[in-house]
């Protein structure tokens, strides 16, 4: 369904030009969940945003390669086609729900905006909004939908973001660090919710994170990114149990374990990784 071929993305011009993504190859099948793991600056978020050409250009430059979604190259699409793609076929959930929701519009209006854009089959928008909020586990959705984002807790805000993303029944959900900004207990709830939704709606998902600890049970395959390259790829089980690359090993080693008898937390020494 999704195929990245030799994708290279640069930022900036002249002497300040940097290669954020250095010619990567990636593929994702329908209904599959791929976890893209790496630390900050590895290029994973850039890759995620590139799928619907969401990066601001300038400074981003799509130097090389193709992004094939259902056979079509996203990089060659017209603005109108891109707008149909965004939200309609590929939807996003971002890291900070408190700033990602517009503070002056009600929840209902923001979800309705997405529905108006992509779902011509819906006649009763309010009912559909209630249905979406219900899907993500929001209690008393008919009343809550008239609230403003600041009236909701962080966990609920993220649920709303997910509801908004799902409102148009996308084929692919890109979740960029969806739980990083939330408390640990809420993290688990959100992940459970996402796992359930994925199964129910048979949706493909690209889960972008720096935390190996959250991908177990939700990701089918894993790709590890380091400084713009994909250094390891495989099924979750393979990678977690038998990491090949030094970086992958180091990343996995960073996950603190309960019952560990260690005085210091593990860190990654970049100088040895090359």
């Amino acid at each position: 369904m999704l195929s990245l071929r030799n994708l290279r993305i640069d930022f900036g011009t002249g002497p300040d030009r940097v290669q954020a993504v250095k010619g990567i190859n990636l593929s994702l099948g329908a209904g599959e969940t791929l976890a893209l793991v790496g630390e900050s600056g590895s290029g994973k978020s850039v890759t995620g945003m590139a799928l619907t050409r969401l990066l601001p250009e300038p400074p981003a430059v799509y130097a090389e390669g193709q992004i094939l979604f259902e056979g079509e190259d996203v990089l060659k699409m017209s603005p109108a086609q891109l707008r149909k793609l965004r939200g309609g076929k590929i939807a996003y959930v971002f890291q900070e729900p408190s700033t990602s929701l517009n503070p002056v519009f009600t929840i209902r209006n923001q979800i309705a905006e997405a529905i108006d854009l992509h779902r011509s089959d819906v006649s009763d928008v309010d009912a559909e909004v209630v249905h979406c909020l219900d899907l993500v586990g929001i209690v008393d959705p008919a009343k809550r939908m008239h609230d403003y984002p600041h009236q909701l807790s962080g966990g609920m805000q993220q649920r709303v973001m997910i509801a908004m993303a799902l409102a148009c029944r996308p084929q692919l959900l890109v979740a960029d660090e969806p739980t990083t900004a939330l408390d640990v207990t809420v993290q688990a709830q959100i992940l459970d919710q996402m796992r359930e939704l994925k199964q129910r709606l048979k949706m493909a998902m690209l889960l972008i994170t720096h935390n190996f600890g959250i991908i177990g049970g939700i990701a089918d395959r894993v790709a590890v990114m380091f400084r713009g390259d994909i250094v390891e790829e495989g099924t979750t089980q393979e990678v977690l149990q038998n990491p090949q690359h030094a970086y992958t090993k180091a990343l996995i080693g960073c996950i603190p374990q309960l019952g560990q008898r260690r005085k210091r937390l593990a860190t990654i020494d970049h100088s040895t990784l090359g």
């Binding site: 619907t52 969401l54 603005p79 891109l82 707008r83 149909k84 793609l85 965004r86 939200g87 309609g88 939807a91 996003y92 971002f94 900070e96 700033t99 990602s100 929701l101 517009n102 503070p103 002056v104 519009f105 905006e113 997405a114 854009l117 992509h118 403003y148 600041h150 009236q151 973001m161 908004m164």
Partner: protein, 324 residues
């Protein structure tokens, strides 16, 4: 929301008092009433006329506390002036003796006839141009527009006026370059040039300001979310950026409202419009200290009123404050 507004109101009262104090120090301490009398009377200043002038206005009282036997201790200049201002008694003109309340009331309408249309036009034009610049986001156009705005801002108002009057009166001869008439359809004829000049002289700063505001909005996370949902750039601007930017816009716009009443000092003088600006201008030349003092007090009240109004609008417009 009401608690918030009440707190703001309480904050203003000591400031009003501070302004009254400042006015007193400036007009009665830095320049003694004696010196004021001499300057106002000019050539006609004899010791006797000065004495009369001071006595008629009650300026011959001691400054802070009255020590003369037979008189109450609070019969001083300071207490009297504070009392006067506290009861909104604006006093009378040093030069003409007319009650200032009358003088000011007369000047409000002509001033508003100039400032209100100019204000509305400036907002419409400024916001429109700024939105356009943000929409096309072309580096070359941005640079050119930026330079143009800075250039517009770098010209003093007088030059705009002198030039405008010259071009319109002598070269084009379409509209009168001077004068004012308060009679139905001919009034716009006299107002056209000053309004246009007022808009043009402020346009550079306005567009820059609004553009910076809208650009800041565009950088917000929720705009990214909107674009990720497939909202077009036009819709993003008109719906999201404008509504969010409006809250900040209100702060700037509403704060200017009281100044509309004060009119424009320079423009009214240049065009002979009998508004409050002209009243002040004449007072500066005379010199009429009573008018200036009253203007200072009134101007401050208007400014603080504007701030309070801004707070009200802000509290109402931003759901985060409204729903506490």
């Amino acid at each position: 929301m009401f608690a918030y507004l009440l707190r703001r109101l309480f904050f203003f009262i000591p400031i009003v008092f501070g302004v009254m104090l400042l006015t007193f120090v400036l007009f009665f301490v830095v320049q003694s009433p004696d010196a004021t009398a001499r300057r106002v009377l000019g050539q006609k200043a004899t010791p006797k006329s000065v004495e009369n002038w001071l006595h008629n206005r009650g300026y011959d009282k001691p400054l802070l506390i009255n020590h003369t036997p037979g008189k109450p201790w609070h019969d001083s200049l300071f207490i009297h002036q504070m009392g006067r201002l506290a009861t909104f008694d604006l006093g009378t003109s040093d030069v003409s003796g007319r009650p200032l309340r009358e003088v000011f009331a007369q000047g409000v309408l002509p001033s508003l006839l100039l400032t209100l249309p100019a204000f509305l036009l400036s907002i419409a034009l400024g916001v429109g141009l700024a939105l356009y610049l943000v929409f096309i986001r072309n580096a070359v156009v941005d640079l050119a527009a930026s330079l143009f705005c800075v250039a517009l801002m770098s010209v003093p108002v007088m030059v705009y006026v002198i030039f405008g009057q010259f071009v319109v009166a002598q070269v084009l001869n379409y509209f009168p370059a001077f004068g004012f008439e308060l009679s139905g359809w001919s009034t716009p004829k006299f107002l056209l040039l000053p309004v246009v000049l007022m808009v043009v002289s402020g346009l550079g700063a306005d567009v820059r300001l609004f553009r910076a505001l809208f650009l800041e909005e565009m950088g917000q996370d929720y705009i990214r979310t909107a674009r990720a949902k497939g909202v077009s750039t036009v819709q993003v601007l008109m719906r999201h950026v404008l509504k969010n930017g409006l809250i900040n816009l209100i702060t700037l716009v509403v704060a200017s409202l009281p100044f509309l009443i004060m009119g424009s000092l320079l423009l009214e003088n240049f065009f002979g419009i009998p508004g409050l600006g002209n009243v002040l201008f004449t007072a500066i030349q005379a010199p009429d200290f009573a008018v200036v003092q009253a203007s200072v007090f009134l101007g401050s009240l208007l400014y603080l009123g504007g701030l309070l109004l801004t707070d009200v609008c802000y509290a109402w417009a931003d759901p985060r404050i409204r729903l506490q």
